[in-house]
């Protein structure tokens, strides 16, 4: 089962908040809190696993190590110096890279893709902030628009920027991600939210800049149901929202081939991101945000184990 199919099949669950309902909440913080608290309430185990200072392993002391990390009890029993290593880093950098190109302003229902991405960003930022991560936000289209560097104190700024942003210009990935890579000097968790209307090679090349820098990258591919199902019927002129190009289209004749192409695109992205150990998740804007939170949570869990 592909991510697309899983995304579509996981729509059931009355406890999840419909994005259309979230859209009525003006306050992004309240929205994020509502999402996260509701999400956490539904869990049967604590999501803060990564925050505990659990012991991971010992290694021999090497010159230069902090002597405060020497396990003195073990030294007493073995008369050797060992250093204690703990599982997770606390106070990690958490940066949200949000695509605000014009194509993100598309929506076939009450929530456009940008709004969905905005809610997702707020929820993730809120969630990460609770884990004592330093939260930052970078918006971009064909270049970086807003840059809020990760910080424990930037939660309000992130929410404010999310609240104010709007889509306007055409977008691209490579140039802004190159700039972001250069500016995010400290390794951390990077969440990239976009509709990814570029060739998979270009996308992988751009996103690869981040992973090559050592960032842990999570990719959320946000698409509208109309982009996934192509429900149009009347022959119409389809206009590219970014380039303005117009093409006459007979949906009933084109639908099959279009769906094959978009699914192939999603499938290829999923495979190639996975091959690069980059988490990829397709998000349908008609689905609740919880799916994205699950994805993020599983990622954090996996990440802490790796460390």
């Amino acid at each position: 089962m592909t991510s697309y199919a899983r995304a579509r099949s996981s729509s059931a669950g009355a406890q999840f908040l419909d994005p259309a309902v979230l859209a009525r909440i003006d306050n992004l913080e309240l929205l994020a809190r509502t999402v996260v608290d509701g999400f956490l309430t539904g869990l049967h185990r604590s999501p803060y696993l990564g925050f505990s200072l659990d012991f991971a392993e010992h290694r021999p002391y090497m010159p230069g190590d902090d002597v405060r990390r020497i396990d003195w009890r073990l030294f007493a029993r073995t008369d050797r110096h060992y250093i204690k290593l703990f599982e997770a880093e606390t106070n990690a950098n958490f940066a949200i890279l949000l695509d605000i190109s014009r194509s993100m302003s598309f929506g076939s229902h009450s929530v456009v893709k940008l709004d969905y991405a905005r809610y997702l960003s707020a929820a993730l930022a809120f969630f990460s902030n609770r884990q004592r991560d330093r939260v930052g936000l970078i918006t971009f289209d064909q270049k970086v628009v807003d840059f809020v560097p990760p910080s424990m104190k930037h939660m309000d700024t992130v929410l404010h920027v999310l609240d104010q942003l709007s889509a306007g210009r055409p977008g691209s990935l490579h140039q802004p991600l190159l700039q972001i890579t250069e500016r995010l000097t400290r390794k951390g968790v990077v969440v990239l939210i976009s509709d990814f209307y570029e060739e998979p090679d270009q996308i992988l090349e751009s996103v690869g800049l981040l992973s090559a820098r050592g960032h842990d990258v999570i990719v959320f591919h946000v698409l509208d149901p109309a982009e996934l199902e192509f429900p149009f019927e009347d022959a119409s002129g389809f206009q590219d929202m970014e380039s303005g190009e117009q093409v006459p289209v007979i949906p009933e004749r084109l639908r099959g081939e279009y769906l094959a192409l978009i699914r192939g695109h999603v499938s290829e992205l999923e495979q190639r991101f996975s091959a690069r150990r980059i988490d990829y998740k397709l998000l349908d804007t008609s689905q609740p945000l919880d799916l994205a939170l699950f994805q993020y949570l599983s990622f954090r869990e996996r990440m802490t184990r790796v460390r």
Binding site: F106, G107, A167, E233
Partner: protein
């Protein structure tokens, strides 16, 4: 047969089909623009250029295109050109009128069979676009089938036609053909005249002229003139013997042809019973008269028939008549006691001279009129009588009861003042014009029934009579002058009183004061006077086939021999029924209007109330017109030359080229395919409207795109 168009230029309108196609390809594209995040995938779809022009609503497009196509075709006036199917082809569609002579002379030999065969042949030769009419004629013409291409109907109509009892008259038939051809929209016309072409059927001045281009094709079926014996006349002289009427039939016979003298038995039948048979000897081309023994006429509406053995032309071998007793007019002539002895000589003799015993004359001298005198009298003539008051009163009453009174004024005539209102005027002194040539009649009211028979030329000359003396007459207000002398004084005047008439003749009826009695017109004049005063109408023992009787007219009934409506079981309030000689029932509904009975068959027509069966019903005898037996023929070409336009040749004439165009128009007009096509186009447009509205509503239900 091929599809053709009268106005093919309109077919250019078919190019209008491109309009809905272009609209389907372009208009919807301009109208609906959907903003889509990226055309990255859409632009990758192969064959996009072809698909972008694909038409979505094929049904709508088809309806619109088909409607436009039908509109263009309808305006181009399509028709199935069947010119190549026209038989002969030279004249194009014809309007054929077959005139078939139905007169009784056509019954001679096998003429009628030949005539029907000729008519059927003409119908068989009809082309697919030809139309034909069948007209039968004798005295009049009757259109049996009009302008139809249905051969079956024409054949059926022809089968219903049979020889009649009429007389040939070509005028009405040709006039009917002329009318049919003039009203026809076919380019050529032809009249086929099937007849034995008798000369007496054509007078030459009928005023018939066939339309230009029309052809008259005479088909003569006249065979050899056979020997024919006919009853040319029948006299029914009446005599009153011992108060009963006796009738002496006199038959005149003629023989046409033959080689040797021939004995011919002649039979007299009364009420269907053979009474007498006499034998007449007829020389070749000879004639003779035969007198039957008198028979007593006792029953009203007695049917009589005189017949000779039927020959090749049988209708003229029989003569029917109907007689009723009591048709004699009783005239009482009262001479003044001091009048000359022979004052009524001429008058009496004139009235007695009547072949059929029309008048019964009684002469009495005296100055008064007694009630006994007036009994059984129809007319009272007071010849130079000094009328007293009582007699005047009686005469007034007699006139009011329907009798007629004629005052013949002489030297001693007078009319009492007490009855002046009854007489046409006051009698004055004698006007003596003995000097010179005397006076003459200067004015006659020819419109009056008395003088009506003399209206025509050589029908009686009253100007030859000279009048030397006459009495002056001062007319009353109600009097009407019928004749005046050349000095303006009144010669004959009348006044109507009640149902009768009182007349005054201001001179004598003998040769004393005038010489009118010596003039040829005297006898018919006296007869007309007596008949008019009696109020009787001359009864016709028979009618001629072709005549029409108005049974609602009492005078016509009386002329037809009706003695008493009550006795015959007739009244004007109930529906009547006439039975023709062939047994056909002819209903005669009661009403205020005329009730015409056309007498078309030879024999006896019986008229009675519907559902009644009186002992002596009212019967009308009908005989054929003997002129039809005269077999002198006319050259058909003479007839053709007189009624067709000179130089007409439908195959080469100037009308032919025009006729070709007319044929196309005619075919198109007759088929009128454009009406059907136009109706179909409108139906399609209505369907398209409904369908497009449904599609629009369905489309408006599709959710629109939201862009942030």
């Amino acid at each position: 047969m091929s599809l053709a168009f009268l106005v093919p230029l309109f077919l250019l309108g078919i190019a209008g089909i491109a309009i809905p196609v272009v609209v389907h390809l372009t208009r919807r594209q301009r109208r609906n623009v959907v903003e889509f995040p990226s055309l990255m995938f859409l632009s990758k779809v192969p064959f996009q250029e072809q698909r972008r022009r694909r038409i979505q609503h094929w049904l709508l497009l088809s309806l619109r295109a088909l409607a436009l196509l039908l509109l263009a075709v309808a305006f181009a006036r399509p028709f199935l050109d069947r010119s190549d199917l026209v038989l002969g082809g030279a004249g194009g569609p014809r309007e054929l009128v077959v005139l078939i002579d139905q007169s009784y002379s056509m019954g001679a030999g096998d003429q009628w069979t030949e005539a029907r065969r000729a008519a059927a042949g003409a119908f068989d030769d009809l082309g697919p676009l030809d139309r034909a009419s069948l007209v039968t004629f004798a005295q009049g013409a009757r259109v049996i089938a009009r302008s139809t291409s249905d051969r079956t109907r024409l054949r059926a109509a022809l089968d219903t036609v049979d020889v009649g009892s009429g007389t040939t008259r070509y005028g009405p038939a040709l006039k009917a053909a002329q009318t049919i051809l003039e009203e026809s929209d076919l380019p050529s016309g032809e009249v086929v005249l099937v007849s034995d072409f008798q000369r007496n059927g054509w007078s030459g001045d009928e005023g018939v002229r066939l339309p230009p281009g029309a052809v008259l094709t005479p088909v003569s079926v006249a065979g050899d003139v056979p020997e024919n014996i006919q009853i040319t006349g029948l006299g029914l002289a009446r005599q009153s013997v011992s108060g009963r009427e006796r009738v002496t039939p006199t038959v005149r016979l003629a023989r046409v042809g033959g080689d040797e003298p021939r004995e011919v038995p002649v039979t007299l039948e009364l009420d269907g019973q053979e009474i007498q048979t006499r034998v007449a000897v007829l020389e070749p081309d000879g004639a003779t008269a035969l007198v039957f023994q008198p028979f007593t006429l006792s029953q009203p509406h007695t049917r009589g028939t005189v017949r000779v053995p039927a020959d090749d032309l049988s209708p003229d071998d029989v003569r029917h008549f109907v007689l009723s007793p009591g048709s004699t007019i009783s005239v009482l002539v009262v001479e003044g006691s001091r009048a000359p002895t022979d004052a009524s000589f001429y008058l009496r003799r004139a009235l007695e001279i009547s072949e059929e015993g029309r008048f019964s004359v009684r002469v009495r001298r005296g100055d008064g009129v007694t009630p006994q005198d007036l009994e059984n009298a129809d007319v009272v003539v007071l010849n130079d009588v000094r009328v007293d008051g009582a007699s005047a009163e009686r005469l007034g009453a007699f006139a009011r009861g329907g009798g007629g009174v004629l005052l013949v004024l002489g030297e001693r005539s007078s009319w009492p003042e007490s009855a002046a209102d009854v007489a046409p005027g006051a009698v004055g002194p004698v006007d003596d014009r003995a000097e010179g040539q005397g006076g003459r009649l200067g004015f006659l009211e020819y419109g009056h029934p008395v003088f009506e028979p003399f209206a025509g030329p050589r029908s009686g000359d009253f100007t030859g009579a000279r009048f030397f003396r006459a009495r002056d007459l001062t007319l009353s207000d109600s009097a009407r002058v019928m004749a005046r002398f050349d000095d303006g004084s009144v010669a004959l005047a009348e006044t109507r009183t009640g149902r009768g008439t009182i007349m005054v003749w201001t001179s004598t009826m003998d040769a004393q004061w005038n010489d009118l009695a010596l003039q040829p017109v005297y006898l018919p004049f006296v007869h007309r006077l007596a008949e008019y005063l009696s109020g009787r109408v001359e009864v016709q023992p028979w009618f001629t086939a072709g005549q029409i009787v108005d049974l609602a007219d009492p005078d016509a009934l009386e002329a037809a021999g009706l003695v008493s409506a009550e006795a015959a079981g007739l009244d004007n309030e109930s529906d009547r029924m006439a039975l023709s000689p062939s047994g056909a029932a002819l209903p005669l509904p009661a009403g205020d209007g005329p009730s015409y009975l056309p007498l078309e068959e030879q024999g006896f027509y019986t008229v009675r109330l519907a559902g009644s069966d009186p002992d002596r019903p009212f019967v009308i005898a009908v005989n054929v017109d003997l002129s039809e037996s005269t077999r002198t023929g006319i050259d058909p070409e003479e007839l053709v030359a007189q009624i067709t336009a000179p130089g007409t040749d439908p195959t080469t004439g100037p009308d032919f080229a025009e006729g070709s165009d007319l044929r196309r128009e005619d075919q198109e007009r007759r088929q009128s395919l454009w009406r059907l096509i136009l109706a179909a186009a409108f139906a399609l447009l209505v369907l398209e409207t409904v369908l497009s509205n449904w599609v629009s509503r369905r489309r408006s239900g599709t959710p629109g795109m939201v862009t942030g």
